[in-house]
Structures are given as structure tokens and as C-alpha cells.
């Protein structure tokens, strides 16, 4: 009996629990639900970017046989939006359209062909208004306002100064400044948005399945826009084909689907095309960053003075949060006391961006890491050494009160320096080959949620039943990041059980506890902690039941997973026996576990909005990128990437590695090829052909080093694993290109034509100098 050991799952590579259903085609996504008599939804969209709506005539479309319902802006006068302070978007435009492709109506018909014909019969009369496709045009003096309550087309202006920036810059031995442009980026998740709404007219009850990262927010917005009682709505999230942030707010797709289902008194499936996902957008905004950094000769940073302008599209979405993140998360990687920030979120006539992987931080981190690379170059200091001169020392609070209890950046830099053979390669790779380094961080869940209700941040239910199975009930949306696997591991580890004992049911608002959703890398940290709490509570129940049967004190019961015993000599009870003992007199048991953040993690009160950026823990990343530049075409090839991330503790090393590789790869797309392009507000990159995510051949080998700093608050010490390593790729790449060709790309992406121009300018400059 003494050999009996609890099963250990934490720190052991675990294939994802939903892998088998995904590889066999059994996993159901929203568009895969095909109930009988399901109607087809199609959206009528604005052909212009900015206009007053004069008339929308749907009479001919309504009269078409097979059309079961059409809704327009008239059918919904309740605005929606993820932030309670910025809800002024309607599922379908009402007074004005503010971007090309904005929904005006939604048709439900018996089949696609009829729905398509109905769209052709809708007549839209409008008066065109001047439209602004760039931040600067929208801010120009003679620009008219997109929204009456947002004068000057400024969605939000953020200003702060921490410390004394002017005197710190004066004290600096070197001050450099540069302005970087980062284009708009789309997630291009592989599954186009889809919703299926089932309206039960007799009960006035709505069931919606949707491709969302935030079923709870969708639930709130459905109740609001449908003007239905919240209790009469059920939201289920089936499998979803990626998110990366574009589904962290309720989208108009879900709302229109439900509205038109109610109108048609039936079930409607609304699946948008690939092009429409680009119009629905909610990706990363185009961002201009003006960055100024002052340093001492020894490399220590004295002050950071920076400005950020984000092209915010026609509506707010997450905009206020994005511009606040851009300001607050300049802190947290390095140690400096003085910073000044001015951030402008601008309203423009383009599709609204949202919260993409690395929300708010990516442009600023790029600018920061590119500029300090240039600074260390001019100081003739190794860029890794430069970073070492500016390390934080945990535990600490940054100058803007970010709470940092674990800080594995030094180990990350050590790892990439060694593994990449940095010291040998730096400056020695020969012409047109180069190597670059950069670092980044990201939070492990926003400490204050956008819907602040006083409830805990996360709640888990564990149902224990007669069959000795544990059903894990969580609202936390599995979106492919592996959250269900990791939560299951947390429960299994505490109870010492094999993971197969635990079956999960996720994201069904009538079954699972509420959860804020899959965003800001909150699930592993917050839901993981709640799962540990729940499992400990369940363990206590089991131990007490075992103690009753074994006739001993609970503290004398030894839990070995499948066996509970009083002393090591005792044969003890099987798990099944303990479960039956626990159920005696009580019946099926459900225990719960909670998690909440502590006030120290809630950010700063030094400026308005300073809570944004506050987190219980920050993950760190460093990476080295090696590139080759083709002298004839200026094409950049990424030869290899070495990346190390401090994830606190790798709960599932297999999944951590996958998440880190995925982040690096997504950063690579943004660095070398991805951008959305508009012509007069019309998206001209709205396909998988024209929006160039890297394909197989561009994807380099990515060596991953996992650093475990064991955060005191993390579940088993864990922190974020799926976002941090995106942003450091981009500056590491441009730093490598600068090393390769001697000119520094500034604007992203580093496309061959832009780089060719830079190289030619340098060459002609050199020739001029020779003359």
C-alpha cells in the first residue's frame, strides 16, 4: 500500500483535453449547429464610410417570398458597448453610418439565395458626409464630429506625468526621440464570426450560441438590446476557432442574430464571410508612437516622454482601455521613475478596433525597445547589457504602482543570450545578416474588471456525484488556449486524481457559474486559483467523510488521490468509497471556489484611469531574432528565434510552449507582412490572400525556454503564458534588420519596398559623403 501515490499533473506536459474531438471533426463550432427549419441570416451593409441616413426602404425585400423577417436600426434603440462609460454603438446604424460596411439591416430568410435576393431589394438613401480615414484628418480643425458628444473626434485623451520628466531629461547624458507607425492589425482567427439564435416565442425565451470569448458580456448586451429580462436568456459558447481579442466584446453579429430571430419568431443562423470579419474588425488600432528616452552614460534610464495616437474607428469599443494600457504598461519591464504620457484615441470613419493579443502595449513596447537598441548602439554598449543596467528588483512597485512580486526577465535574457550564441554572433554575422534582441511583459488578468460588481473575479463549481466523477463547471471560455485543460489539471493536482476523473462543462450561462471571459490572460491565474480553492474545499469534504468512516480525526486522514487512509499501515478507503460516504445524507454535492484580487494590485491613483494596467502578476519575455536580408529584393527572412518567457510556473509545459510559439509567430506577421489597407474606407486587404499572415515557409524554428519565477500569488506560482512574447518579437526583428543592413526600419511592417527605399537612401547618402 505504501507505493500508492497521488497522481501529479502540474508541470507535466498534457495534450489538450479537447484534442481528440478536434482532430476527428466532432468538435462543434457555432456554424455547425444545423437545427431543422433554421433560417439564414444576411447583413445589409453601408456602401459609404460616413453619411446621414435619409431612408432605408425594406418593403420590397419584406415582400419577397421566403423572407421571414428583416430588422433595421429602427428595431433597436438601445446602444451597446463593452465599457459602461462608452456605450454608443447600435447593432445597426440609426442616424448615421460611420464606417464603410457598418450594418444597416439584417435579413432572415429560408435559404441563402433568398436572403441574398432580399439584400439586393433594400434601398438605402443617404446624404454623404466628409469622411476621415486617418487620425490626423479626423483631428483637423475643420473636421466635423462623428459623434456629437465627442468634440474634435477625441474619444479619450490621457495625460499623466509621474516624477519630474523635464529635469530628468536635463540630467540625461543622451536623449533620443523617434516616431514609429504601427499599422492596423486584424486577428484573422480562422473561424469567421457565427451565431445561432433560437427564439421561443411562447416563452419569450432566447438561446444564443456564439463564437465569443465573453459569453457573459454577450448575455448582458443581449438583455439590453433586446430589452429582455436577463433571466430569460441563455448564452452558450460552443468551440470557437480562435479569438486573439476580437471577440472580447459582444459583436453586432450576435445581437443582430438574436434581434432578427425574435422578429422572425424562429431560429436564425448568422455566419459572416471572411471579408465581413475584417469589417467587424476589433483588432489592433493603427498606432503612432512618439518616444523620447533619456539615459545616463552608464545606460540607466532617467526619463521616458511619449505620445500615442490610436486610430479608433467609428465607435469606442475598448478604445478607452487601449489608450490607457498604452500609457500604463510602459512601466513594469525596466526601472525608471520619471515618465510623461499623452495618449489620444481618435474617432475615424474606419471599422472599430478592439483588444488584440498584448492589448494596448504592442506599439509602445516596439517603440521603446527599438529606441533603446539605438541608444545602446550609440553608447557602444551591448543591448543586453544595457537592459541589465535597468532591471527592476522584485518584490517592488513601479513608479505607477504596478505590483511586481516575481521578475524573471534577468533569467530570460541570460537564456536567450546563451542559447542564441549572442556574444559570438552580434556584429559578426557578415553583410545582410543580423541579430537583434528585445524584451516585453504582459499582465496576468486585469485586476479590476470592466464590469465591476463586487463579485469575486472567478468562481468554479465542482459537482461530486454517486458515480465518483467530478464535474467541473466553469464559465471560463476555452478558445483554444488550453484553459479547460489547465483548470482540470489544477483540480486533479489538488485531489491527486487522474485528469480522466474530471469532466468539464464550460460556458453555458444556465449551467456554469458566471465568468468574465477569455481576455487579459486572466483565466489560468484567476480561474486557476479559483479551481485550486474549489478543489481544496472538495478535498476537505472528502477527508471529513473518510474520517467519519475511518473513525479518526480529519487531520489524520492521508489523501493519496485514489486512496484515503488513516495511517500509512491502514488499507484505507478507495476514492469511490469515500465519495459514497460523503454523499450519505447529503446527496449530490457541489462545492465552489472563488478567487479575488488584492487592492495592492489595483494600479495607481496618480491619474484618472490608472487602474488599467494593474494586475496580480506580470509575465516576462526576452527574445533574440536572427535574420537574413536579400540584397536584391530587400526581403527579410527570419532564420531563427530564441525566446524565453517567465511564466511563473509552467502548469502545462506543452501548452505553454505552444502559446509562446504562437505569440512569437503572430508578432512576426505584424513585424514583416500584416496590415489592413483601406481605399477611401473600403478595406482592400479583406481576404486571406491579401492580408498576409505568415504561411508555413515564413515560419522559422522557434526555440522556447521556459523560466519559472514562481509567483507568490499565482496558481502553483503560474503567470500569463499566451500574450507576453508577441510584442518583443517586433523590436527584436527591426533591431536584427538594423544589425544586418545598417539602417533601422521605423514603420511597420518591414516590407521589402520600404526596406529597399531605406537601404537606397543610406547608399546614396554614403555616396554623397564620399563625394
Amino acid at each position: 500500500m505504501n507505493e500508492i501515490k497521488p497522481t501529479r499533473t502540474i508541470g507535466v506536459p498534457q495534450p489538450l483535453v479537447d484534442g481528440p474531438e478536434k482532430v476527428s471533426g466532432k468538435a462543434l463550432y457555432s456554424a455547425d449547429f444545423l437545427p431543422n427549419n433554421c433560417l439564414v441570416g444576411r447583413i445589409f451593409r453601408s456602401p459609404v464610410a460616413h453619411a446621414e441616413i435619409i431612408r432605408l426602404d425594406i418593403s420590397a425585400a419584406e415582400a419577397l417570398p421566403g423572407v421571414r423577417g428583416i430588422i433595421t436600426g429602427e428595431d433597436c434603440d438601445e446602444p451597446y458597448g463593452v465599457l459602461p462609460i462608452a456605450r454608443f454603438e447600435y447593432p445597426m446604424a440609426r442616424d448615421k453610418v460611420r464606417y464603410r460596411g457598418e450594418p444597416l439591416a439584417c435579413v432572415a430568410a429560408v435559404d441563402v439565395e433568398t436572403a441574398q435576393k432580399a439584400l439586393d431589394l433594400i434601398k438605402f438613401e443617404y446624404r454623404e458626409l466628409p469622411a476621415y480615414f486617418t487620425s490626423s484628418d479626423a483631428m483637423s480643425e475643420d473636421a466635423i464630429d462623428l459623434h456629437d458628444h465627442r468634440p474634435g473626434n477625441i474619444e479619450r485623451e490621457v495625460d499623466y506625468e509621474i516624477g519630474d520628466v523635464d529635469s530628468a531629461l536635463k540630467d540625461a547624458d543622451m536623449v533620443l526621440e523617434e516616431t514609429y507607425n504601427c499599422p492596423e492589425i486584424c486577428q484573422v482567427q480562422t473561424e469567421p464570426h457565427a451565431a445561432i439564435a433560437e427564439y421561443d416565442a411562447e416563452r419569450d425565451y432566447m438561446t444564443v450560441r456564439a463564437s465569443t470569448q465573453v459569453p457573459f458580456y454577450v448575455h448582458i448586451m443581449l438583455a439590453k438590446t433586446l430589452k429582455m429580462d436577463q433571466s430569460q436568456i441563455r448564452v452558450i459558447k460552443p468551440h470557437i476557432g480562435g479569438g486573439f481579442g476580437c471577440r472580447t466584446e459582444c459583436l453586432n453579429v450576435e445581437l443582430m442574430c438574436a434581434l432578427v430571430a425574435r422578429k422572425a419568431k424562429g431560429t436564425v443562423r448568422l455566419v459572416v464571410s471572411r471579408e465581413e470579419t475584417f469589417i467587424t474588425h476589433r483588432g489592433r488600432p493603427e498606432t503612432d508612437v512618439k518616444m523620447k528616452i533619456g539615459v545616463k552614460k552608464d545606460g540607466t534610464i532617467t526619463a521616458v516622454d511619449f505620445q500615442v495616437i490610436q486610430r479608433g474607428g467609428g465607435y469606442s469599443g475598448y478604445g478607452v482601455v487601449t489608450i490607457l494600457y498604452a500609457g500604463s504598461l510602459v512601466f513594469g519591464v525596466y526601472n525608471f521613475e520619471n515618465a510623461r504620457y499623452k495618449g489620444l484615441r481618435v474617432l475615424t470613419n474606419t471599422p472599430p478596433p478592439g483588444a488584440m493579443r498584448g492589448h494596448g502595449t504592442v506599439g509602445v513596447r516596439y517603440a521603446f525597445e527599438a529606441l533603446i537598441d539605438e541608444i545602446s548602439h550609440r553608447l557602444k554598449m551591448d543591448p543586453i547589457e544595457f537592459r541589465r543596467r535597468n532591471f527592476l528588483s522584485a518584490p517592488t512597485f513601479t513608479a505607477n504602482d504596478l505590483m511586481i512580486n516575481s521578475y524573471g526577465l534577468p533569467e530570460c535574457l541570460d537564456w536567450v543570450e546563451k542559447e542564441s550564441d549572442w556574444k559570438t554572433k552580434k556584429g559578426n554575422l557578415g553583410p545582410y545578416r543580423g541579430i537583434g534582441v528585445a524584451a516585453s511583459h504582459y499582465l496576468s488578468g486585469a485586476s479590476k474588471s470592466v464590469n465591476w460588481t463586487g463579485e469575486p473575479h472567478a468562481t468554479i463549481h465542482l459537482k461530486l456525484d454517486w458515480d465518483a466523477s467530478i464535474t467541473l463547471l466553469t464559465g471560463a471560455p476555452e478558445i483554444g488556449q488550453g484553459s479547460t485543460t489547465v483548470i482540470t489539471q489544477c483540480v486533479a493536482e489538488v485531489l491527486g486524481l487522474d485528469m480522466t476523473r474530471i469532466q468539464s462543462v464550460t460556458s453555458d450561462s444556465k449551467v456554469t457559474p458566471k465568468d468574465n471571459g477569455a481576455y487579459s490572460s486572466r483565466i489560468t491565474f484567476m480561474v486557476g486559483n479559483a479551481a485550486i480553492n474549489a478543489a481544496n474545499n472538495l478535498k476537505q469534504v472528502l477527508i471529513e467523510a473518510a474520517a467519519r468512516k475511518l473513525d479518526c480525526k480529519p487531520e489524520d486522514v492521508e489523501c493519496l488521490g485514489e486512496v484515503y487512509r488513516a495511517a500509512s499501515q491502514d488499507e484505507g478507503m478507495t476514492f469511490e468509497e469515500v465519495v459514497l460516504a460523503a454523499l450519505e445524507g447529503s446527496g449530490t454535492i457541489t462545492v465552489k471556489g472563488n478567487y479575488d484580487t488584492i487592492p495592492e494590485s489595483h494600479g495607481t491613483k496618480k491619474y484618472r484611469g490608472g487602474a488599467i494596467g494593474g494586475s496580480m502578476a506580470y509575465a516576462y519575455s526576452a527574445q533574440v531574432v536572427e535574420v537574413t536580408v536579400d540584397p536584391e529584393t530587400a526581403q527579410v527572412t527570419v532564420d531563427k528565434v530564441w525566446v524565453a518567457q517567465d511564466v511563473g510556473k509552467a502548469l502545462n509545459p506543452l501548452s505553454c510552449e505552444g502559446q509562446i510559439q504562437g505569440s512569437v509567430w503572430m508578432g512576426m506577421g505584424q513585424a514583416i507582412s500584416e496590415e489592413t489597407v483601406y481605399h477611401k474606407g473600403l478595406g482592400i486587404s479583406g481576404s486571406m490572400l491579401d492580408y498576409r499572415v505568415p504561411s508555413f515557409i515564413e515560419s522559422p524554428p522557434i526555440e522556447v525556454g521556459i523560466i519559472e519565477s514562481i509567483d507568490p500569488h499565482g496558481p502553483f506560482g503560474a503567470k500569463e503564458a499566451g500574450e507576453t512574447s508577441l510584442s518583443s518579437f517586433i523590436p527584436a526583428l527591426t533591431n536584427a534588420v538594423a544589425d544586418a543592413v545598417g539602417v533601422r526600419p521605423i514603420d511597420l511592417p518591414v516590407t521589402p519596398d520600404k526596406l529597399m527605399e531605406l537601404i537606397e537612401k543610406r547608399e546614396s547618402g554614403q555616396k554623397a559623403a564620399i563625394k
Binding site: G25, Q635, G658
Partner: protein, 470 residues
């Protein structure tokens, strides 16, 4: 006549559905096989990949991955169709499925069924999963979660040791020659004569020669095309003829079938072809189709022009031969008469001392439209340029010869100075546009640089005849 095919081993007989129904819609909506996914409806993402299994002339089983979004239902006539639901053996996952679970190759899982099927075709084909082969097999599948590393690991784990296989008796279905509904007709003639007669009777019909372009009209844009004539069962159009002097490819020969010949005779063109779309596209797409759609952005046309190819056109009144460069007369316009179609493409072989090179420049290596494509057939004798044909794509509205550049090179010494001096001629030949693919300045500069690349490339060889083999 109904169409009939085997779907995961079960005979399906279909009649009454519109012929332009995409196979993807058919599988999902009509057969409840929702494992096959729609990510883009235009053959870019590969989420809809299925496998068509057949036996070649020698009885060897061939498994070809194709994009179901670009296929029309009657194209399945007589086929053995395999979807992600049909590859597990009872309770046991196929090795590629098991490997994808073990390596965490799934993440969100939406692209997974498409990858599984592309990997399944690779595994069943028995190829050794080298990096190059894996790249080629999976270039048509986009994943947004993994960065591909775990998928490559899965490919290496599961592929490379499949035993020889036979499709079996299921493969004996005979395709029907016509499938029609009240308003639409899909004809599949099997002889040149029948095709010519059908074409003459239906000059406005759409000719289908693979459907990787036409499929977008029916799948993504849902156009109910009334009359479609498929050319892929016409025996004469499937012929490949090789003599001492030329290679002649029937217009309905797929890229996949043509590749071994092209690899041997014009290796640089073969490299380029492997960058056209993906295996899924090459398994359906044909040279004839690519030339027939007269897309200004097609990659093969500049190459074939440089190779001095001619197209053989056919109709009831006989055949004629037209140099490819004269075949294109404007944007998406050709010199095809109303009852004419392309029968074959005739490509002269390289003579001794001649080399062919093609360079494609695009922002993304695979699955991208060229910013610039330069194609060169050069003959060197006594270190002088004895013959030269140069054509570019991406530099004008149609694929075009670079006559001034050719003149600047012809008869000159084959030296770096000669090649560097060609720059001015390139500017004379072309005034390219600036667009989101590349700027005008970039296109011009790269076009000039490609001559330098050509020179350096060919200078590695003592004797240009060796180039062909390299």
C-alpha cells in the same frame, strides 16, 4: 443523370441539387459532415480540405487533397471522397490524428480538420516527410494559433511509413456526361469532338478546367452559373506528349501531373509552380485553366512567354496555333473565338547552351500574388548572349515581353557590366503601377536587380547545359 460517388466508403447518388452547389456546402448542409470547415470560401485557408482517392494507370492508390470550397458537386462524379469523419479506424484515431493530439497541434481546432486531411493525403502517399515535403504538403493550410511547429512535429511523427495501398473496387464508378437541373447544366464530355460540339452550341458557357478560379464565383460569390462545361474528362486534353524538341501539355492536365515533366525540363518553372496556391490547388488547377482565365496576375504566363510557348486552339472548324504572347489581348481578354477552346500548350525544350530562370517576388512566399515576376530564357555561346527572351509579370496590365531589355542584351558579352547596363532598358520597357503589393520604384529596382540575380545564378555554371539539370 445523377452524380454518384463514394463518401467515406458509402455510395451517394445525388440528383436535383444545383450543379453549382459547392462540395463544402453539400458536405455540411446536406450530409451533416460539419467537420469540414469554411474559413474563407476561396481556397486560401485550407480549412475545407478533403481527400479524393483514385487509382492511377498502374493501380497505385493516389490520395489528393483538394479544397472542397472550390469544387462543384458534379466534379465528385465517380470519385472516392474522404472527409475528416472517415479516417479513424473504428475507435482508433488515424496516426495523423493521434500525432496532432500528442503534439498540441490543435489549439482552437478550427483549421485542424483541413490540416488532418492534408496530412492524411501525405501519409497515404508514403512520401518521406522531409522539411521540404511537409512544407509543400501543408502550404495550402493556414493556422493562426500554433506557428506551425507542433504541426510539423506531428507530420514527422505520423507520416513516411504508410504501406502501399489500393483504393479497391469502390473506384470503379463511371462518371456521367451531364448533370442538370431546371435552370442549370453541368456537362462533362469525354472526347474532343463532343467538347467542340458542346462549345459551339454554348458559346457563353463557362469552361471548367479545374475550377480553382471558377469555383470562387460559385462558392464565395454564389453565382448560379447556368451552363458549365467541364474539360477534365476529355481524353485528348489529358495527354502529355514529349518529343526531342518539345513538351506538349493537354489543357486539362493538372499542375500535379505536369510537375514531374516540368521539374526535369524546366526546373526553375517547377519551383515557381510549387508556389502557386498549394497542393490542394495544384491537384485541381490546370495550365489550360490558368491561361484561359487570362488573369493579369497569373504566374505561369510570363514564364511560358519567355519559353516561347504556343497555345493550340481547337474548335469544330479545326485547330490553330497562337504564340502565347499574342494570345492575351487585354485585361482578362484573349483571342479565343466564341466556339474555340484551348487544347494544349506547346513548350519548346531548351536547346544546348540555353537556360531558363524564373524569379517570383511577393510579400509572402506562398499563396501570394507576385509584386514582380521575371522569366528568362538565355542562350550563351562563346560567352556572348546568343539568344534571349525575357518576360515580366506585375510590371504591366498583361504579362509582357521586355523587348528593350532583350535588345540591350542580345549579342553582347555575357558579363556583369552588360547586365548592370540593362537598367535603363527596363525603365524603357515598363512603367509599373504603385499599389499595396509594391511601389513603382520598388518594382523597377527589383526588375533591374533580377537581371543581376540571373547573371550570378548562371555564372555558377561552367556550361549552361548543366543549368537545366540543376
Amino acid at each position: 443523370m445523377p452524380v454518384q460517388f463514394n463518401l467515406n466508403g458509402v455510395l451517394c447518388v445525388e440528383d436535383g441539387l444545383p450543379p453549382t452547389t459547392s462540395v463544402l456546402d453539400y458536405l455540411r448542409q446536406h450530409k451533416g459532415k460539419t467537420g469540414t470547415k469554411e474559413g474563407c470560401a476561396e481556397g486560401d485557408c485550407g480549412a475545407c480540405t478533403i481527400v479524393l482517392a483514385r487509382e492511377d494507370e498502374s493501380g497505385t492508390a493516389i490520395y489528393e487533397a483538394v479544397n472542397s470550397c472550390l469544387l462543384m458537386l458534379p466534379q465528385l462524379d465517380g470519385a472516392n471522397v474522404v472527409t475528416v469523419e472517415g479516417i479513424a479506424d473504428a475507435d482508433t484515431l488515424d496516426p495523423v490524428q493521434a500525432a496532432m493530439v500528442e503534439t498540441d497541434g490543435t489549439q482552437c481546432g478550427f483549421c485542424t480538420p483541413g490540416f488532418i486531411m492534408a496530412l492524411y493525403a501525405l501519409r497515404k502517399g508514403g512520401e518521406k516527410p522531409t522539411d521540404e515535403v511537409i512544407h509543400e504538403a501543408l502550404a495550402g493550410n493556414l493556422c493562426r494559433c500554433t506557428g506551425y511547429t507542433p504541426i510539423v512535429a506531428a507530420a514527422k511523427k505520423a507520416c513516411g511509413n504508410a504501406p502501399p495501398d489500393v483504393v479497391g473496387a469502390r473506384a470503379t464508378l463511371v462518371p456521367s456526361s451531364s448533370y442538370a437541373t431546371e435552370n442549370q447544366r453541368f456537362s462533362a464530355p469525354t472526347s474532343l469532338e463532343d467538347l467542340a460540339a458542346l462549345r459551339a452550341a454554348n458559346p457563353s458557357a463557362h469552361l471548367l478546367a479545374g475550377g480553382t478560379d471558377l469555383g470562387i464565383l460559385t462558392s464565395k460569390e454564389r453565382q448560379p452559373l447556368p451552363e458549365i462545361i467541364s474539360t477534365v474528362h476529355v481524353e485528348e486534353l489529358l495527354e502529355i506528349t514529349e518529343t526531342d524538341d518539345y513538351l506538349e501539355l493537354g489543357a486539362a492536365v493538372t499542375y500535379t501531373r505536369a510537375l514531374p515533366y516540368v521539374k526535369r525540363l524546366y526546373p526553375s518553372l517547377a519551383t515557381l509552380i510549387t508556389r502557386i496556391g498549394s497542393r490542394q490547388i495544384r491537384n485541381m488547377g490546370t495550365f489550360g485553366g490558368n491561361i484561359g482565365t487570362a488573369s493579369p496576375i497569373g504566374d505561369t504566363s510570363p514564364c511560358l512567354i519567355a519559353l516561347d510557348a504556343t497555345v493550340i486552339l481547337h474548335s469544330l472548324s479545326g485547330a490553330r496555333s497562337v504564340p502565347l504572347e499574342d494570345f492575351f489581348i487585354g485585361y482578362r481578354e484573349t483571342c479565343l473565338g466564341p466556339s474555340e477552346f484551348i487544347k494544349a500548350i506547346h513548350i519548346p525544350k531548351l536547346s544546348s547552351g540555353q537556360a531558363f530562370r524564373a524569379y517570383k517576388i511577393s510579400k509572402r512566399y506562398d499563396q501570394d500574388i507576385s509584386s514582380v515576376i521575371g522569366a528568362y530564357r538565355v542562350g550563351i555561346s562563346d560567352n556572348k548572349v546568343a539568344s534571349i527572351r525575357v518576360a515580366f509579370g506585375g510590371m504591366a496590365a498583361t504579362p509582357k515581353r521586355a523587348s528593350a531589355s532583350e535588345a540591350a542584351l542580345a549579342g553582347k558579352d555575357w558579363t556583369e557590366e552588360t547586365v548592370l547596363a540593362v537598367a535603363a532598358a527596363v525603365a524603357e520597357d515598363f512603367t509599373p503601377l504603385s499599389d499595396h503589393r509594391a511601389s513603382q520604384a520598388y518594382r523597377l529596382r527589383v526588375a533591374e536587380n533580377l537581371f543581376v540575380r540571373l547573371y550570378r545564378d548562371l555564372s555558377e555554371f561552367e556550361d549552361l547545359t548543366d543549368v537545366v539539370a540543376a
